[in-house]
């Protein structure tokens, strides 16, 4: 009797947790290592003036996690006779590291220390056959040539970055492109990346500067978002179906017990139980069945999730996704089950109000 409810809820918990965990993993793997909000210049020379004030302001306006500035520009990297288009990215290493996690991505060599040092992505290093200590020449469209030394090789996980980014000191990039003390972008991360658009709007309003553009990852990743939205809707539909079956399970269980209990309620009424108390018997029963069933269901659902993770994890390989136990989701499912159990008990409780003891006695 309680088992039916338990199974329905365990499916709800199992499906819900899996879908949510998968979704989170997907977002994290896509967005985990990039800025959530990017501020760029909208003037012709692509630089942002008085960025120091802006950085201070940003931290005051909104709860942001990291604010990092960058001086970046397109150039050509040349070694021997091979030349490739690159994006030179000048970063303050410590700050940018908090967004991109560069230090963990360096698989050979070390971060740049001197102004003449760069770190090169995996793909570019292969194309230009670069190794630690090798030298390359970077030519800007403005006609400046700079000689740089490779201090490390990185793998940031995305080949578009590994192929094009030449990461170096802020000053090196500024000098290369003649930016003076200016920067070309301010990059921001926030704690809840799904609120990035809200924070971005707030920043845009508060900074109130016609010379800048504020963009957030959501605008730039419409496709991913659409995918997530589709997933969210299908998971909502699945959960709605499960919810309906939970309610049906609970009410059918209760209606069976009502048939059994009708005679008893009738005779209790002959003995003077008040209608309200007779009705409460059903509500109480619904509550108890819902309580026990949903707790069983949560336990079962969680074990299923763990079993699933254990079964799909192959030794020595990273897990398919990172499991996240969302307590608010479990709490919500639990409350819904309880609530629907009580709701389902209301019908028999109401019917029991109408029941007259004579009906029961006459049946015999």
């Amino acid at each position: 009797m309680v088992a039916g409810i338990g199974i329905a809820i365990s499916v709800q918990i199992f499906v819900g947790l899996l879908i949510n965990s998968l979704q989170q993993s997907l977002v994290d793997s896509t967005m985990g290592r990039s800025p959530h909000i990017t501020i760029t210049s909208s003037v012709d020379d692509v630089t942002i003036r008085r960025w120091e004030n802006m950085v201070d302001d940003i931290e005051k306006i909104a709860p942001v996690e990291v604010v990092s500035v960058s001086a970046s520009g397109n150039a050509f990297a040349r070694r021997g006779s091979t030349s490739k288009p690159v994006l030179v990215r000048g970063f303050d290493f410590e700050t940018a590291d908090r967004i991109y996690n560069i230090s963990d991505s360096i698989y050979k060599g070390s971060p740049y220390q001197l102004r003449s040092e760069v770190i090169v992505g995996k793909d570019l290093s292969e194309e230009l056959e670069l190794d630690i200590g090798d030298r390359l020449t970077v030519s800007t469209p403005g006609g400046t040539d700079s000689a740089l030394t490779v201090s490390g090789l990185y793998d940031l996980g995305a080949s578009s970055i590994n192929k094009t980014w030449l990461i170096t000191k802020l000053e090196t990039a500024r000098k290369m492109f003649g930016f003076g003390s200016r920067v070309t972008s301010i990059e921001v991360t926030v704690s809840d990346l799904f609120r990035a658009d809200i924070v971005a709007n707030k920043l845009e309003k508060a900074l109130d500067n016609n010379n800048i553009k504020v963009e957030n990852w959501k605008e730039q990743n419409q496709q991913l978002l659409r995918g997530l939205e589709g997933q969210r809707i299908s998971s909502a539909i699945i959960q709605a179906i499960i919810l309906v079956s939970v309610i049906v399970a609970i009410s059918s269980v209760l209606s069976i017990s009502v048939l059994q209990k009708t005679r008893h309620i009738g005779i209790l009424k002959a003995m003077g139980i008040k209608d309200r108390d007779a009705g409460l018997i059903f509500l109480y029963q619904g509550f108890l069945i819902g309580l026990v069933g949903s707790l069983l269901g949560i336990a079962l659902g969680l074990s299923l999730v763990y079993a699933f993770v254990a079964l799909t994890t192959v030794e020595g390989q990273p897990p398919l996704f990172e499991l996240r136990i969302q307590y608010d989701f479990i709490l919500r499912s639990w409350l819904i089950a309880l609530f629907s159990a009580i709701l389902a008990a209301i019908v028999p409780a109401r019917n029991s109000l109408k029941l007259s003891p004579v009906d029961v006695i006459r049946e015999r």
Partner: protein, 226 residues
């Protein structure tokens, strides 16, 4: 002593595709502490009459008084209280709750009344079980007793709140003659010891012999009152 039950000009018509009138202008009253039986052919209206006296059913016309209070116009909650405290019922079938033991079943009306069980009521219950000769099975599950034991448990339950009235509808209908005799003697004993007013509907003239007064009913009318 005044009447504890009084019916004045009571009609009862069961509404349906064809309306069926079961009682016609019944005037009837029972003295406090009396012991009476109601007899009549099947379908003559005995159960209808008893249910109306017990406030389980309402008359179509006429007035019903229990203990001087008019009941046919009372609200449901007050009626429930009245039944709980003043009237005990015994039917042909015992209607015990199968999940509970005999003694738990017997205590239900007291639980409804006061919401708890105390030592006094337990003693009273044990007394009554003794009196009925079934104290050996009082801790049995209701379903694990003989028909006679179940019926006597139902009688204990009807008496637990020490009601002033006990209404019984064919209480011995399913019992053999030996147990029937015994139950009749119990009724008498309770009637004398507690002054409980008894009204027993029966087909069995042996049962009627144990009562002081026999009301005969035919086609919904009182035919004789001896």
């Amino acid at each position: 002593m005044g009447s504890i039950i009084e019916l004045r000009n009571v009609d009862k018509t069961y509404a349906g595709a064809i309306d069926a009138q079961a009682l016609f202008g019944v005037d009837l009253s029972f003295e406090e502490g009396s012991c009476s039986s109601i007899m009549g052919e099947s379908g003559s209206g005995k159960s209808t009459l008893l249910n109306i006296m017990g406030t389980l059913d309402v008359p179509t016309r006429g007035e019903v008084f229990i203990n001087g209070q008019r009941t046919d116009t009372m609200g449901k909650n007050r009626l429930a209280e009245l039944r709980n405290e003043t009237i005990g019922f015994v039917f042909q079938y015992h209607y015990l709750l199968p999940e509970f033991t005999a003694i738990e079943n017997a205590l239900i009306p007291y639980l409804i009344k006061s919401g708890k069980v105390d030592k006094e009521i337990l003693e009273r219950a044990e007394d009554l079980f003794d009196m009925m000769g079934i104290s050996n099975v009082k801790n049995n599950a209701a379903a694990r007793m003989s028909g006679g034991q179940q019926q006597r448990t139902a009688i204990v339950r009807a008496l637990i709140n020490n009601p002033r009235i006990l209404l019984a509808d064919e209480p011995t209908g399913n019992l053999d003659s030996r147990i029937t005799e015994r139950v009749c003697k119990n009724f008498r004993e309770i009637n004398e010891r507690f002054g409980t007013t008894f009204v027993v509907v029966t087909h069995n003239s042996e049962v009627a012999k144990h009562t002081d007064r026999v009301v005969k009913i035919q086609d919904g009318r009182i035919e004789a009152d001896i």
